[in-house]
Each structure stands twice: as C-alpha cells, then as structure tokens.
C-alpha cells in the first residue's frame, strides 16, 4: 500500500467523521436527555440542504454559503421545535410510540420536499473559494472538505462551551443526570427538552449544508446518513457527547481506511459488522456513562 494513499484516506476519514459527527450530535443530545429516538432526524439534514440551496438562490456567490449556515441552523431548529412540541412532548413517556410517530414525520417531510422541490433534487454550487484544493505531502486536500472539518470542530467547541459554561448547559446536565430530581428542584424540564431538541435539530441542519457541498440535495438525502448517525450514537455510548465524537472519528476513519482495500459497498457492510462486534464486546459504548452524567 502506498503511503500517500494511506494519508489521503486518513484525511478523507476525518472529513467523513466530521459529517457523521454533525449528523449524530443532535441524536445523541436528544437521546441523552429525553431517551427519545428521533427517526425524523435525517430529514433535518435534508431541510438544511434545501435551506442552503434556497439561501444560495437568493444570495449567490461566496458569502451565500456562510449565510446559509445560520439560516439552515435556525430553520432546522424551528422545525425541530415544531416536531418536539407537537409530537414528541406528547409521547415522551412512550419510547416505542415516539419511534413510530417520528418515523411517520420523516415520511411526511420527505414527501413534502418531493412535492415542493421535485423528486429530482437540486444542486448547490460551492462558491469559488471552496472549489480549490491544496496539496500537502502528496495528498490533495479539497477546500470543501477542510471547510467541513473546520465547521465540525467549531460546532463541537461551541457545544462544549454551551454545556459547560452556560445556564442552559447547567440545566441540561442536571436533567440528564437525574430527570426526576431536576424536576423536583424546580427546573422546567419540558423547556430544557425543547431547547435541547431545537439545538440538536439545528446542528443537523448544519450537517445538511455540508452534505450539499459534496452531493445533490434530494428528498431522501437524510436517509443515507441517518444510518451511520445511529451507528455512531449506539457505539458512542448512548447520549454521551465525548463518546459520540470518539465514535464518529473511529467509524469515519475505519470506513475510509477500509476503502483502500474494498469497495464502498463492502466498506459499509464492514462498518456494520464492526459496530455489532464492538457492542458485543463493549455494550456500554466507547464511553460508559456510569454516573449518568452528560460529559462534555
């Protein structure tokens, strides 16, 4: 095996890991605090992609993509808020029902996008400054992928700051540790749920913008990333942010390195096998949250 190819795939692994991370952080957050599995999470990615497309249609050029980030974040967060307050809140004590209901929401959103934007999908053209690439040690580093890694690192940093330093972060950690106790001390648990769910959906919206830089935005774009995102959350130790980050890195790099030897389809299969074996050996995930504390 050639060293340059190895380095190249290592870089691709990090870029894939960034996508997985952005796609799965929201899932991990909402699971950590509400024990709710949101099947419509992939559609937040799709929504982010379409919002990026819409923003770039209104504001073309280099600044458009930067503007698309807050637009997609807010749009997806708002949609998340609607789903949380209309569906999930009312089913919070029944995880299986939530699962089916959010899956229904996912199908509705996909069909909605199909009716609004067409089945074919739209294309987001990356601005000039994201179109180039750098060459380092014989490895080509496309600017778009560097941008994605940078956004993922920034989002992770901002999330850590939020959870560790802010009031809402404190409340979130309290609810995550012991929901009943937090409620008993007067914390409005439902408002915390709502805020966390919006935040998670917003991050997924950002992931959607990143996906739009790499491929077409179609009504079913979320479906192809929701499965790796679930794998990341399961492997990370459900609900842990540090675990989610570690799992995203492991799975991203694993998948990219596997592709040196096998095709993409086989590498996806290997990914699944890897996760199944991993949770056999370590059912609690990468990070065991024994203390029930949301580590940041």
């Amino acid at each position: 095996m050639d060293f340059a190819l190895f380095l190249n795939q290592l870089f691709n692994g990090f870029s894939l890991a960034s996508l997985y991370l952005l796609a799965s952080l929201g899932l991990a957050l909402s699971f950590g605090i509400m024990r709710v599995i949101n099947m419509a999470h992939g559609e937040m990615l799709m929504l982010g992609g379409y919002l990026a497309w819409a923003t770039l249609t209104v504001v073309p050029g280099g600044a458009g993509i930067l503007l698309a980030l807050p637009v997609a974040f807010l749009g997806a967060a708002a949609m998340g808020g609607i789903i949380q307050s209309t569906v999930i809140r009312r089913l919070s004590a029944r995880p299986l029902d939530t699962l089916l209901a959010t899956w229904g929401v996912s199908l509705v959103l996909q069909q909605g996008a199909r009716d609004l934007f067409g089945a074919i999908g739209v294309e987001v053209r990356a601005p000039e400054w994201l179109n180039g690439s750098f060459v380092l040690l014989g490895v080509t580093l496309p600017s778009a992928r560097l941008f994605i890694i940078a956004v993922a690192v920034l989002v992770l940093g901002a999330l850590a700051l939020l959870l560790l330093k802010s009031k809402i972060g404190l409340l979130t950690r309290a609810v995550n540790q012991d929901r009943m106790m937090a409620s008993a001390t007067g914390i409005d648990v439902r408002r915390v749920d709502f805020a966390v769910f919006c935040l998670g959906s917003g991050i997924a919206g950002l992931a959607g913008v990143m996906l739009a830089l790499l491929g077409p935005v179609t009504p079913s774009v979320g479906q192809s990333y929701i499965i790796p995102a679930f794998l990341v959350v399961v492997m990370g130790g459900l609900g842990s942010i540090v675990g989610t980050t570690a799992a995203a890195l492991i799975l991203g790099v694993f998948s990219a390195l596997a592709q040196i030897y096998v095709d993409v389809s086989v590498s996806q299969m290997l990914l699944l096998v890897f996760v199944i074996l991993f949770i056999q050996i370590r059912p609690q995930g990468v990070v065991a949250v024994k203390s029930r504390q949301l580590d940041a």
């Binding site: 190249n8 894939l16 599995i37 053209r125 459900l238 949770i279």
Partner: protein
C-alpha cells in the same frame, strides 16, 4: 442493562427502517374504458427519478400522438402509470399489479438492470411483454422483453474502441454497485486486456451513494489516462462534484460515461461535466428531420428548456414499434406482437432508421459525444454502419447464445 437493551432497540429499529424505507410510491392513474390499456412503469421518485421521469414523458407523448392519429387497431390507448420508486422489488410488484389487476397488454418501463431483472420473472410468468428502453449489459435474452437500448457491443465496446484509437492505454472503472456496471466492466476488462492495454483499478459505490472520497483517492493514486464511468442516477452529481473539488476536471482527466445524457448533464450543471465524453445511440444534436420533429413536439408539451436523451428516444420508438407490430399482427396479444415486431423491418425514428433483430434487440448505430458548455454533445465519432445487437459478448460469455 437498560442501556444495552436500548442499544439493541436502536439497532433493530434502524434495521426495520432499512427494510422498509424503500417504501411504495403513489397509486396508479387507472383509466381503462373501451380502449387498450398499456402500462408505463418508471421510477418517479428516488435516486433514478433524475433519469426516468423524462423517459415516462416521452412514452406518454408517443401514446398521445398515437391517440390523436386514431389509436391502435381503431382503439384509443390508455396508459396506466406506476412508480417503481428506484427499488427493484417495487418494480416487480408494480409490474404484476399492472398485468394482473389493470390487465395491460404490454408495459413500457424500467431503467436499471436491477429493475429489469426483478421484473423479468413477472413477465415470463404472465407471458406479457416489456419494452425496455435503456442500454444494458447483455447476458440476458428473454422472449418476454424487447430490448431497444444498446447491447454492450452497441455502446460500451464502440466507446472502448474509440478510446483506444485516441491512444488511451490505462483505464479506471467506476460504477454503481449492481448488475449493469459489474457486467459491463467485466466485458470491458476482457477487451482492454485483449487489446494489450491496462485496467489500473475498479471501484463500486452503492446505487445512490454520495461518498466518493475513497474512489477519488484511488483514482489519484492510479493516475489512469481515462476513467470509464458506469454510475447511475444522482450519484453522478456527487462524483463529478468531488472530482472537481479534488482538482480533477474532465479537462485534465477524461471521463467516459455510459449513463449521462443531455438531461443528466443539465441537472448536474454543465460546468461540472463540460468536456466529458458519453457513448449513446442517440444525441439530441443528431441531424435529421425526424429528430427535429420529435424534439419540437416534446418541447411543446414539456417546456422549451427540456433536454432530450437516448433512453427517451428509445422509449418513444418502443411505443411506435408496439403500435406497428400490433397492427401487423392485427392483435394486441403479447405473443403475436413480439413475433410481428422482429419482422417489421426498418422503420423511421428520431435516431434514423432502425429495426428489431430476431433476438428482440435493436439494430442501431453508436456515437461518441463530447459535452459542450451549452449542455449539448458534439459528436466526435460514429460507428458509420448499423451494429447488429449481440447479447452475449464472445470474450466474456463464450459459447452462450440467444435461444427463444
């Protein structure tokens, strides 16, 4: 304990989602009165919709024109449209619905070979007839299918011959992971080796896949003279986008595609694919009065900026061939129609005169086009003579032949 149980729950849930996210599409628009019902079955949703919706449009246009001209055997033709949803099992299910509950006499449909292979047993069991309009990998010859798209020797091999003449000696094969790209590449590899040239690599991505980082890494490593691309559907958008981001444009590394026509180029944005090559039996830029008339009629119905592609023209001529065969046989019985179809002789189509050979495939020419900035192909090479269809490539499948 609870955690691990929840983990199992998550895993099993998403397995469930996987199994059923292929979901079914919309219901049929059934309208069977006194006329003749025919089925139109394409992916109107999912990854293949980018290509198949316009093929359906072309079939509907032909049916409309035929009805305006008095129908078939004095009866109006009514189309029952179904959505295969880019999913082979949905195609099979919808095909049997069309034949068994809508009682259609024939079906126009399919794009991916996976969808054709899934429908094949349905058509053989019900003794119905499928008109399949897309280039494919051969290695199949069923009496229940009329194959109007190119056989490998009418698209892939002429493309390879052209590439060899241009002096390309090293090849990299990229494709979607299903039967067509795998078989087409098997045939190509045999011919590349026989010609004393080299295959530097071969990579497959699941149909609809959007991550090409690994594939592009391998291409950069292998440094081939040309890439042969058998990706289908909107994976192509992701592939060319990520190639561009990695600094490989069709201008620096030529790409020959077998599933990118005018429609796909337009949907992808021509700046992304300008300068890449395609091999087809029809290009919108072909001269000829029949072609001009078809383009004008299509644009009048579906909008002036519509792009016309090879499979659309094959689909359009399929409907007319079915009409001619039914009238020759004086019956819409599938068995009588298919026997009449292979004895029709040459008939006029937008792609010139073509005919069905005894193996139910089309005798046609092959062209190589280079994509220009306006989304049209400049024809850089053509096969000149008509090419007889050969379902079984002699190198890849020695000793096999077509028996009905």
């Amino acid at each position: 304990m609870i955690r691990s149980r929840l983990g199992t729950l998550v895993v099993s849930t998403f397995a469930l989602a996987l199994a059923s996210c292929s979901g079914s599409g919309t219901g049929g628009e059934s309208a069977v009165g006194d006329g003749i019902a025919v089925g139109v079955l394409h992916s109107l949703t999912g990854t293949m919709a980018i290509s198949e919706i316009t093929v359906k449009n072309a079939e509907m246009l032909a049916i409309e024109e035929i009805n305006a001209g008095g129908g078939v055997l004095g009866k109006q033709v009514s189309a029952v449209v179904e959505d295969g949803a880019s999913d082979p099992s949905t195609f099979a299910q919808k095909a049997s619905k069309l034949i068994e509950s809508d009682k259609v006499v024939t079906v126009f449909g399919g794009w991916t070979s996976a969808s054709r292979k899934a429908m094949l047993p349905v058509f053989e069991r019900t003794k119905n007839l499928l008109w399949y309009p897309v280039q494919f990998e051969g290695n199949e010859c069923s009496a229940s299918i009329m194959y109007s798209g190119a056989q490998p020797n009418q698209q892939a091999l002429p493309a390879l011959k052209w590439a060899a003449e241009q002096g390309f000696k090293t090849y990299f094969l990229v494709g979607s992971d299903y039967v067509y790209p795998r078989t087409a590449n098997l045939i190509l590899k045999k011919h590349i080796e026989k010609g004393g040239m080299k295959v530097l690599g071969e990579s497959y991505v699941p149909l609809g896949g959007t991550d090409f980082s690994g594939v592009i890494g391998k291409i950069q490593q292998a440094k081939p003279a040309i890439v042969i691309n058998t990706l289908n559907g909107d994976s192509n958008v992701a592939f060319f986008k990520q190639m561009q981001a990695a600094g490989l444009s069709p201008k620096t590394l030529p790409v020959m595609s077998f599933s990118i026509g005018e429609q796909e180029a337009k949907a992808m944005g021509t700046s992304l694919v300008e300068g890449s090559y395609a091999a087809w039996n029809y290009f919108q830029s072909l001269p000829g009065e029949g072609n001009a008339r078809f383009i004008a009629a299509y644009k009048k119905k579906f909008g002036a900026d519509a792009a016309i592609t090879d499979p659309m023209v094959h689909a359009y001529l399929d409907v007319y061939a079915w009409k001619a065969a039914a009238e020759k046989a004086q019956s819409t019985d599938p068995e009588a129609v298919r026997k009449a179809a292979v004895t029709l002789g040459a008939f006029d189509t937008p792609m010139g005169k073509v005919s069905f050979a005894n193996n139910q495939s089309l005798v046609q020419k092959a062209y190589i086009g280079k994509l220009k900035a306006d989304g049209q192909f400049e024809i850089v090479s053509d096969s000149g003579a008509d090419i007889q269809p050969e379902p079984y490539d002699a190198l890849a499948f020695p000793g096999k032949s077509c028996k009905h």
